[in-house]
């Protein structure tokens, strides 16, 4: 009754509830804030105002953190959760560039062209991702691309070492050094990527998912090992 009268008056609704003693016992006051960690519109506006250096440094730090994760592959969800494709792009371009300049005199019987390396890496990563999703994996498409791209990093390091060794000479000893380095980095890449990816697969199909990753890194290692300078 009292409440109805209150609303009929046009005054504040539920004015009659002031008679209820809740407000007296428990001080209901303060602000209702958004819980920590979720994005509120305020945050988006503030990144627009921040200096460009901060924006770039934030992305660079994320990329750098992922590189560190690849170097010490332990099971962490950071690599999977915040995927980005900057790292794979940088690695792919640098690997393709370093594979140039070999046997450039012969017309078509030469090393892989820039476009071929690019296509192999990206197309191969896409095919492996599709394969793992078709087999029932729970990882998302871009997360898998991100992991496979970042795990090329040991092979890029191997390519760098190979080019330096080839500057010194191209005899049998240099070949043996290059072979050891490439094999070690190949093993590291494969182990790192399976450490991240194997958990998202159903248990009786892990072998089916790991094998294409092995083949992918084997092909890249072969391209690195057979690189002969001009």
């Amino acid at each position: 009754m009292a409440a109805a009268e209150g609303s009929a008056d046009g005054g504040p609704l539920f004015a009659g509830l002031a008679d209820v003693s809740i407000s007296g016992d428990i001080p209901v006051e303060g602000e209702i804030t958004v819980p920590v960690g979720s994005r509120s519109p305020d945050e988006d506006y503030s990144t627009l105002d921040e200096p460009v250096k901060d924006t770039i440094m934030r992305d660079l730090k994320a990329v750098g953190k992922k590189f560190v994760h690849v170097m010490y592959p332990k099971k962490s969800s950071a690599l999977l959760r915040d995927w980005d494709l900057w790292g794979p792009l940088v690695l792919c371009v640098s690997l393709a560039l370093m594979l140039q300049g070999g046997s450039a005199d012969s017309k078509d019987d030469g090393g892989p062209q820039f476009a071929e390396v690019f296509v192999i890496i990206w197309f191969g990563a896409v095919v492996i991702t599709l394969n793992s999703k078709l087999l029932g994996g729970t990882i998302s498409f871009f997360q898998s691309l991100c992991v496979l791209g970042y795990c090329i990093m040991p092979l890029t390091v191997a390519m760098l070492v190979c080019r330096l060794v080839l500057l010194a000479g191209s005899g049998t000893i240099s070949f043996i050094i290059r072979l050891i380095v490439v094999v070690a980095m190949f093993g590291w890449s494969t182990l790192a990527s399976t450490a991240f990816l194997a958990d998202s697969q159903p248990p009786n199909r892990k072998g089916l998912v790991v094998y294409p990753i092995f083949l992918f890194y084997f092909v890249i290692s072969w391209m690195i090992l057979t690189f002969t300078p001009q």
Partner: protein, 306 residues
């Protein structure tokens, strides 16, 4: 009156109704080749009971065929449709590979291993592995053959990978398509007992290519005789898998067409092997004759002395 009624045309009931009326009747089910071959062996009591079991659906293969029929319900533009073709576990793929490398004479690869669960994982990744194995082995064998020669400059020959990929994938997908079309056409003319779906044919071809992978690795050995022995051996193994799969499908056809079909299958398989060997692997005994220069000197000396 009774005679007129007897002469009236009788509708033939559905097979199920007839069977319900007379459950002990001996019937022949056309889809299953297993009991047909058993009938041909001429055993008396057993085949009839097994046929009844198959008809009653207590047999495993019958159930899986029913389930397979229920599986294919997703429309082809959804992702789930393609997931149906990757519904294999690791041990199943390994079993199928083993079945293709050690063919059991008389057993059909499709019926024994695939059992209406054709997968695309095996054919795709076996072809990919074969492409890279042939390219890498060809490169390695050429490197070792020309190792001592000072005039040889090693090039990785990356172009060959694209050519190998085109050839092998075309073989593994276009030839099954042609064969499937041909079998469908013959099926419309002659009632065949066995018919395969397109995916099953792709599966058989894909798994039969597996034996070429170790063969390609062993082709690094630079001896002509060894290479040809290896090729004939692997051709026999994989060819026998194909022959034993497709012979029951064309057996009831015209004799010459059946033989021609099986012969074409084997011939194309052999052409693939020979083509790979010839294109990617240089001939091993490419020894150039001893340099001519000393002989030249000898002759000039002789002429001078003369």
């Amino acid at each position: 009156m009774a005679a007129v009624d007897d002469l009236k045309f009788q509708e033939f009931d559905d097979a199920a109704n007839l069977l319900a009326a007379n459950p002990d009747a001996t019937t022949i089910s056309i889809d299953e080749p297993v009991e047909i071959s058993k009938n041909q062996h001429g055993r008396l009591q057993e085949p009839r009971r097994e046929e009844d079991d198959e008809l009653l659906g207590t047999d495993d293969s019958d159930k899986t065929e029913l389930l397979a029929g229920q599986k294919k319900s997703a429309p082809f533009w959804t992702f789930e449709y393609y997931q149906m073709f990757f519904d294999v576990d690791t041990y199943q793929v390994l079993d199928r590979i083993k079945g293709s490398v050690f063919p059991v004479p008389g057993k059909n690869f499709v019926r024994l291993y695939i059992r209406s669960n054709p997968d695309l994982y095996g054919p795709f990744w076996i072809c990919a592995t074969l492409v890279f194995t042939i390219a890498v082995s060809g490169n390695l064998s050429n490197f070792f053959i020309h190792l001592g020669k000072p005039t040889y400059h090693y090039v990785p020959q990356f172009r060959k990978v694209s050519i190998a990929a085109t050839a092998i994938y075309a073989y593994a997908w276009l030839v099954p398509l042609a064969l499937w079309g041909f079998l469908m056409w013959r099926n419309s003319k002659v009632m065949n007992i066995v018919s395969y779906s397109f995916l099953e044919i792709v599966c058989v071809y894909g798994y039969s290519l597996f034996v070429y992978i170790p063969t390609a690795i062993l082709w690094i050995i630079p001896q002509k005789v060894v290479r040809w022995v290896l090729m004939i051996f692997s051709l026999c193994l994989s060819g026998s898998v194909l022959v034993m799969t497709f012979w029951p499908a064309v057996r009831d056809d015209n004799r010459r067409i059946a033989l021609a079909t099986v012969g074409t299958v084997v011939l194309l398989h052999a052409l693939l092997a020979v083509g790979c060997l010839a294109y990617f692997f240089d001939a091993p005994e490419l020894d150039f004759p001893a340099p001519i220069i000393p002989a030249h000197n000898g002759t000039t000396v002789m002429t001078k002395s003369l």
